[in-house]
Symmetry: D2
Subunit: 239 residues, 4 copies
């Protein structure tokens, strides 16, 4: 486990971008699974600038690791829509290099990634509850591969799903799909980043506490190639 602590969100985001870029400058196919959400907003701003119109990155392929489908709307779900907006569209990534996971193909996600040569790196955020990807406490367990999670998986899952689709009940799906803990652990490298004081407690708990399904991200601490990138606030509870 390598821990990188940077002064602030901007510098943390720059390092995260650099770690991704470092994987990308290779003369072979590189497979990256990347995260949507708010943590990576700044990182994608940097990456877009570094990646847009660069023919020399035609070796890089992108994967999403979870998806929340809209109930009625067709096309991309919540995750891919967000990735599209933050990165794929502004960076003008060719669609041949984007490999969406969705509710129709999730059963083959692990096999497809293995067939493509495996993930060189998976970039994860972490929730205050210790979740990463769609692995929330009570939804998946460590031995799960890519899975569907039902609206009844936990008490408040319906609320979470409603919130994810912007509060529009007519679009609230009754499930989502996610790469499971075992799927994520198969990546050659795992990078997890976090920003802000609200993440300080879970960072300590997940990476210096017990490995338990109650804190899903705690499993990642036993991966042989894990890098954690934090700003000072998120690292505040570490020694």
């Amino acid at each position: 486990m390598k821990i990188i602590i940077e002064e602030n969100y901007e510098k943390m985001s720059r390092v995260a971008a650099n770690v991704l870029l470092g994987k990308m400058y290779q003369n072979k196919r590189v497979n990256l699974a990347i995260t949507a959400g708010s943590t990576p907003v700044k990182m994608y701003e940097y990456l877009v600038e570094d990646v847009k119109n660069k023919a020399y990155f035609d070796n890089v392929h992108y994967y999403n690791f979870d998806e929340i489908p809209f109930k009625k709307k067709t096309g991309y779900g919540v995750t891919m829509s967000n990735l599209n907006k933050l990165f794929f569209e502004p960076a003008e990534i060719d669609s041949d290099h984007i490999h969406p996971l969705d509710e129709k193909n999730y059963k083959t996600q692990d096999a497809r990634i293995a067939q493509d040569g495996g993930l060189d790196l998976i970039l994860l955020g972490i929730g205050a509850d210790g979740h990463y990807c769609g692995n929330l406490p009570g939804t998946t367990t460590f031995e799960n591969l890519t899975s569907v999670v039902d609206e009844n998986a936990t008490e408040n899952m319906k609320d979470i799903l409603l919130s994810e689709v912007g509060g529009d009940e007519s679009e609230r799906p009754d499930f989502y799909v996610t790469m499971g803990p075992k799927s994520v652990m198969q990546a050659k490298e795992i990078v997890l980043f976090a920003t802000g004081a609200k993440k300080a407690k879970i960072i300590k708990q997940a990476f210096f506490g017990p490995v338990t399904n109650d804190v899903p991200a705690s499993l990642l601490q036993v991966h042989p190639n894990l890098t954690i990138i934090l700003d000072k606030e998120a690292a505040a509870e570490l020694d």
Copy 2:
């Protein structure tokens, strides 16, 4: 996870020896942690023949991953004595290439291995109770690095320790040391092998059941580079 099933103990042992040899033919330092016990007896017979007096294996370094000290007797404990008899002595391995873990240096085991470049491969057996190294149910938990385990860790630990020193109460130690689950997971590659019908049930449980501290070896199923080598009897409960 790659599963290799061979017809019988001899062929399984030959494949295990080949997997180790495959790592050893390199032009750089190679660090191997290897197992004592009964499962590897035949494998070491093969290896001794392939390794003895071979100057071209002077790049290979060996580590033990647990040790049960004798209470009075000085010198090697149970594990190193066994490895010495099965492999190091007959293969005439130079002592400079053997890095014993013992009760005096266990606190630095993880740091020393990291300093040496990490383990390229760790070869493990498995007990019917799901233990590997000295990680028995109730002794260590997934987040543990190299640890000392006390004679009171479990109800029957004193009996186990007595049995390990050959039933001589005057030599029964009140603790042993072992690389913990998190230490083992840091290896670049994990190889676990098993023989015989008495292992069939635990093989299914550990590698196709839940990841739980109740079955210590179940954690290994999430390592990104795990190979399991079985004879037909040990594989009997797999599909």
Copy 3:
């Protein structure tokens, strides 16, 4: 450069087989380019036994690195016919895992291998004139990728081609194809093996003398991951 010296042809062949097997026990696609000829005869005897009917080697793919087409006979040329007889047929390798280079597809050989993820290992023999693959003195130069070599490339090329097709003038082709020096150097690992006193001089010259197109194999000494496996006779001129 790692040099492995074994007592005799049989032991040298066993080590060569072991080095190949060591690459094959992986949970990902493995691409091997392998040599025809007389040096590998014993090695393939060993390999056939280790590989035949082993479902756990379904990750391994095989490539030939040169081909001499018959003038009239259709089907495989000299190299693939030989590999078929020595290894693919007796080991019952599935045709989906064999990727023949021939006179029709040679222009795409390098691109196809790159597309498949590159060669994990290429196993080469060496001629007394310093040739490997079809890179004979006077035919290719270090910067060449996979190339066609004409019957007029060197003074005695027509004789060589005649000899290769068994002396039947009606089958003598007027060219052959070979992976060039630059193609071979792209492999992640190069293994070269040699047997017998008649190779002793060229082994010293190629690996301890000048890097020159006059001794094609001399280029291999600068590859970052080269292993040379010799019996004592072939190693006789080394210090």
Copy 4:
């Protein structure tokens, strides 16, 4: 061979810095050999900012690959003085992480690097004459390891040495030391960068022309992991 072409010197320098950083974010010792001179000036400006006071880069070790000793002055020679000024001092690199090659220890350079685990990356510039490190046409040949080059090696070597020490005849040494072609090729990855129209011709010649000692850098084109980073002017003669 991966070719990266950027619009101008600044962007080319940023990418070169990123490639180095990408290697450095690892949880293991990383060995980098880096170049002095004018090409890297901007890159080091970027790197200093990214590396200075970053405890998380305490895994990185630095090597120089050539040295021109001053005749009278003691202490660092030309190369290390330049690296010190451009990078080590402003970035406040700990001296324990700097491994100087000099005229006293050059005979052990290759062995020391091998002992340290090998070079993960060597960053090279290129001269208009095709030289890299101290491998000028007529000084070393492809099979050379780290070598001493005499003032009489080529016709104008005395002038070159005089120029390197700033024109002070009293400081002109009668030799220099350099890692040889074979030493450089042992690195796991080679990165070569160039800027400006005056490098356009040699870039084409070295990487798309014959592999010949007359153009020392031409050997690099056969390395299995070579990245070339150019600005548009340096790439002007490529298709």
